[in-house]
Subunit: 374 residues, 2 copies
């Protein structure tokens, strides 16, 4: 690869000054048509390409690139999110750089630093599990940061439980709640435990999980299995909170042994299938709340293998939910809306709109398709 031609080369070839070429490239109108023609010709014959990296080092100029750090590109949930973020940003002239941390805190940190070093204009990131808030403090000092899907929490954050059951009825409101962060109060709001002011977009995980679990009880279930991934994940903790709220409400008392019905070791669909398979014969369980799409698929696999099926509701919609009989009921999150919301929040921040960082909680929707019934 020979070294690429520069503006200087174009200027020389066209017999004009560097500045004129710069104007032409940047779309200035006040150029002599004659010269403009010569420049255009030179650009073509030399194969000149504007160097945005070089241009972006000038003060006040940027490359108009945004970074997006997600946790798993291979999961449709995340790729759908990336897609919607990209759509909004590209409509506004930004290029999106999507990277995946594979749920690895170390890699997450590396990627964030790398993107900042690359001088992206802003960052949208799904905070990694248990990685504290240092990265976010450091990053938000360098550029506008939006947390997506999970809040930025100190690494000491533990599952919240036994919380006030006031206004939340577990069904999710019709519209998103936007709550300005009050770093003084550390309870009540979904930001409980957060002590860094980062614009955040979340789904109402607890509300969705509660609605699903309640529905299973309403259909006559007595012992509902919570099937999910590690509680190191914020979303899992929230969904467990919702599940527990529903259990408590259904049983009237704190059900001592309900822990036996909570499984949080289903990291993949295969593991979920094994767990459910082992439980199917035991009679310990008469319904399943699958706390993410992998778990739902695993549970279905186990049902199929065993030729038995229990009432099931999953968190997160998935493509094959309508392919199996009965079709799978799910708590659906509006992924597209989440991506859009995060993207717009970042754009607002880039535009200099001085809004206080806030937490936006998007409602979920319980879609009943039949699998919730015995």
């Amino acid at each position: 690869m020979p070294k690429p031609p520069t503006m200087k080369d174009v200027a020389a070839a066209a017999g004009v000054s560097l500045k004129t070429v710069s104007r032409h490239v940047n779309g200035a109108t006040n150029i002599d048509p004659e010269l403009a023609g010569r420049i255009a010709a030179a650009i073509v014959t030399l194969g000149y390409r504007h160097n945005l990296a070089a241009a972006s080092i000038r003060p006040g100029r940027s490359a108009k690139v945004i970074g997006l750090v997600i946790s798993d590109l291979a999961n449709p949930y995340w790729s759908a999110l990336a897609r919607s973020v990209e759509r909004v940003l590209s409509e506004n002239g930004y290029l999106l750089m999507t990277v995946s941390s594979e749920e690895d805190a170390e890699r997450h940190r590396l990627l964030v630093d790398r993107l900042i070093a690359q001088r992206v204009d802003g960052l949208i990131a799904a905070p990694p599990r248990r990685d504290g808030l240092d990265w976010a403090v450091s990053a938000s000092a360098a550029l506008p940061l939006v947390a997506i899907d999970r809040p930025v929490l100190p690494s000491s954050a533990r599952p919240r439980d036994e919380e006030p059951e006031g206004d939340s009825d577990g069904v999710g409101g019709e519209s998103a709640r936007r709550v300005t962060i009050d770093s003084e109060s550390t309870n009540g709001s979904p930001t409980a435990g957060s002590s860094v002011a980062v614009e955040t977009v979340l789904a109402d995980n607890a509300g969705g999980a509660e609605a699903a679990t309640r529905e299973l009880f309403a259909q006559g279930a007595r012992r509902v299995l919570f099937l999910g991934d590690s509680l190191e994940l914020y979303t899992m903790r929230e969904r467990l909170v919702g599940y527990r709220r529903a259990v408590r409400r259904a049983s009237g008392d704190p059900v001592d042994d309900d822990r036996a019905l909570v499984v949080t070791s289903a990291h993949t669909a295969a593991e979920a299938a094994d767990i459910v398979g082992a439980l199917l014969g035991s009679g310990q369980v008469d319904a399943v709340f699958a706390a993410n799409n992998r778990s739902s698929i695993g549970a279905l696999e186990a049902f199929t293998r065993a030729g038995i099926r229990l009432p099931l509701i999953g968190y997160d919609d998935f493509e094959s939910a309508t392919l199996v009989r009965p079709a799978v009921s799910v708590v659906a999150q509006d992924v597209a809306l989440m991506g859009e919301t995060a993207a717009r929040a970042l754009l607002a921040r880039l535009a200099g709109t001085p809004t206080d960082p806030a937490v936006t909680v998007l409602p979920t929707q319980l879609i009943l398709r039949g699998s919730e019934r015995p």
Copy 2:
């Protein structure tokens, strides 16, 4: 956002020269430990961050960023591909910038130009449908380019047909074929019609489709439906070629009306479902070859709705293939291998290894799970 501190600031704060800071940042070892300590401290207190964009404008230096242009982030096939490419590249110190053209030729061109302007070190791209080879000629003049999933073809390229049926037995070999491009000969090889030398990684679409269709005939099918997306897509054309080979072999003659069994208007799962639904009652069809994952899912939906099912084999594996009964047989492509192969080819090129551009054709695998039987 205050303007970020520069090396100069760090140098001033640490009381050393600019160059020394530069050395420190770039990991040079020959620095007085005393000074190194002062520099490190200054970096932390100032919150300095290395500016890779600025560094990369120096000749011989690059930002170590690769661009990947795929056609649909929301399709698991592409996100899996992106994932495997990212894995290989990040192991080699590169950052991957994944963008999605949404199958839009105009947007594809825009994105390619944008990435080049951003001065990525190399590009892996899925050529858009019917966009000719101008973009590839222009791009490969500026940086190393690898085409993935589809070859770069002139926009006039039409479905190939009636080709020699020599060594291909439609089953796919055990290992990948790597064929050096000979721009003189324009027939026989999978590059037929290509006239620009671009490193290319493809799957054996025709072979996989032929194997699947043959299997359906072997199971007793008489009239197999080809259900797929537009023939503007190279992969669809190839799969149709394979299908036709199998049809011809099964019927002994060119079956005049086989066109009636070829549907190429299934752009989404929903469309595929409608098409299959309309055909189910007609008796025109007794088996289905679904030429991509969307079509497979659509066909399943139609089966489920109608309560009838026909023998089915799909091209491309998909997550729910094992969830339905009978489980869906598929032609599986090794997406991870395709991504790796493309990434390694690009890395080799970046390392300066002067290999001739070649076309690598990866074998496919027919996985029989039961749905192929009546």
